[in-house]
Symmetry: C2
Subunit: 236 residues, 2 copies
DNA sequence: CGTGTCGTTGAGTATCATCAAACGGAGTGG
DNA sequence: CCACTCCGTTTGATGATACTCAACGACACG
């Protein structure tokens, strides 16, 4: 279970500059913050932040760790609809007077800032910087969802997996290892594949020398080879 | 090709109450509108409103007809990421300083209102009603995209197709025909299936008496039967 | 009456899911 | 320290699902 360890302090928040409060002046932050009751949640891996159908009273900002947003069918088949990284805002369905539309579950040990939607709404209406930041974040959400729809609807298994890996490792120097963070099952839930297909392709690519894996970390050794093999049509 | 037939008149706009200007008072509309240069586009079916990668200078409101937003892979495989109905707002990527992330193409003869993003942004910052309406619309976009991700990633062909049909016919009385509007190919592009699989299942269901089709219109005769056959796991 | 587009249907096949078994590392308890 | 379980992963064998290729019919349009 997650639990609250205290009140948040925006001014000293380590990820403030990646959050929706990034462009807010310190003066505004100081003057507004006194009426603003944030809580910091610390979570282990696999903690549930909220579930689909619950009334949406809080928005959240991820300070540290990773969170997955998922939806499920009655028989248990699950789709990950988004993976949240440091600074991401989520759980804002209440702004549209709707219940949460997905489950939010931690993938790793995480620290999450909880913001009451009511106060956040007030703050937003009074500070254009926050407003702009939230708008930008929503539009980015939409764009990323559209990109994922193309991945899920149009691509074949190896293409999905390869572009997932390439995106995951994006911006890294060659020879830089990165924690994969996701289990085979979670990669499957994200890409609409089974554990086995994910495992098979990764094993293939390991044998072909495109990637290496070690204790949950991964490195793309030969991205060109990977692209040629998995994305013949230039899809990655 | 689409072409401009004139300037929009918000006050007399037939779909104003379904648009982001729904809750704006007539006074505000009157006073603000003079600096606001909207254009009305009339389009045949299959007209391109904008394409992915173009700079996003305008947002659009669909007044009449249907529009599909699509993304494509280099080899031509296409995914429909959203289908727009009367009153829907689209093309707002520019608010996040981004180019259009998808193509916008009419599916039927359509009438579209073009709004310069710069003026819309101003209007939004001055009128909370518009602001709220746009926020709500974005959040709805995100929620619907999440729902589609579950459709595409987790469901099998007959489940996808059945829930598409049920959603398309949602809210209709029994014995009410509705135009299907989409070709087999477009249904395929929406659900991540081929023309042939779409056609096969529809033929099956026609033979089983679940649906009837006539000159591009459709009716669900036996939604219970359809659900049982296509969505055994309660997925529709 | 051709021509083109869209939809249907069939046959064959590739892809990916399913089922099943075994492996390896982490953690536990004797 | 070893045996044990547990969990995630790997690998193999098999099969169903949905794709591909192809032919044909229906309909609209010039």
């Amino acid at each position: 279970m997650s639990h609250i360890i205290g009140k948040g302090h925006c001014l000293t928040c380590p990820i403030r500059y990646r959050s929706i409060f990034a462009n807010l002046s310190e003066e505004t932050l100081k003057s507004e913050i006194k009426d603003f009751h944030t809580s910091i949640l610390t979570c282990r891996s696999n903690d549930i932040i909220y579930e689909q159908g619950e009334p949406s009273k809080y928005a959240y900002t991820l300070r540290n760790g990773l969170v997955k947003l998922t939806k499920s069918l009655p028989d248990g088949r699950t789709q990950i609809v988004r993976i949240l990284k440091k600074g991401d805002l989520f759980g804002f369905d209440g702004f549209a007077k709707e219940d949460y539309n997905h489950n939010a579950i931690t993938i790793s040990q995480s620290e999450i800032c909880r913001l009451p939607l009511s106060s956040l709404g007030l703050l937003r209406s009074k500070n254009t910087e926050i407003d702009t930041a939230m708008m930008t974040s929503w539009i980015k959400n939409i764009r990323e969802a559209e990109d994922m729809l193309l991945e899920l609807g149009a691509k074949k298994a190896p293409e999905k997996l390869a572009s997932f890996l390439l995106k995951w490792c994006e911006g890294l120097d060659d020879r830089d290892w990165i924690k994969l963070e996701l289990s085979r099952s979670e990669i499957g839930d994200l890409l609409g594949l089974t554990i086995e297909t994910v495992s098979r392709f990764l094993s293939d690519w390991r044998r072909l020398g495109f990637i290496e894996e070690l204790k949950g970390s991964i490195i793309i050794v030969d991205s060109k080879g990977l692209k040629e093999k998995a994305c013949s049509s230039g899809s990655c």
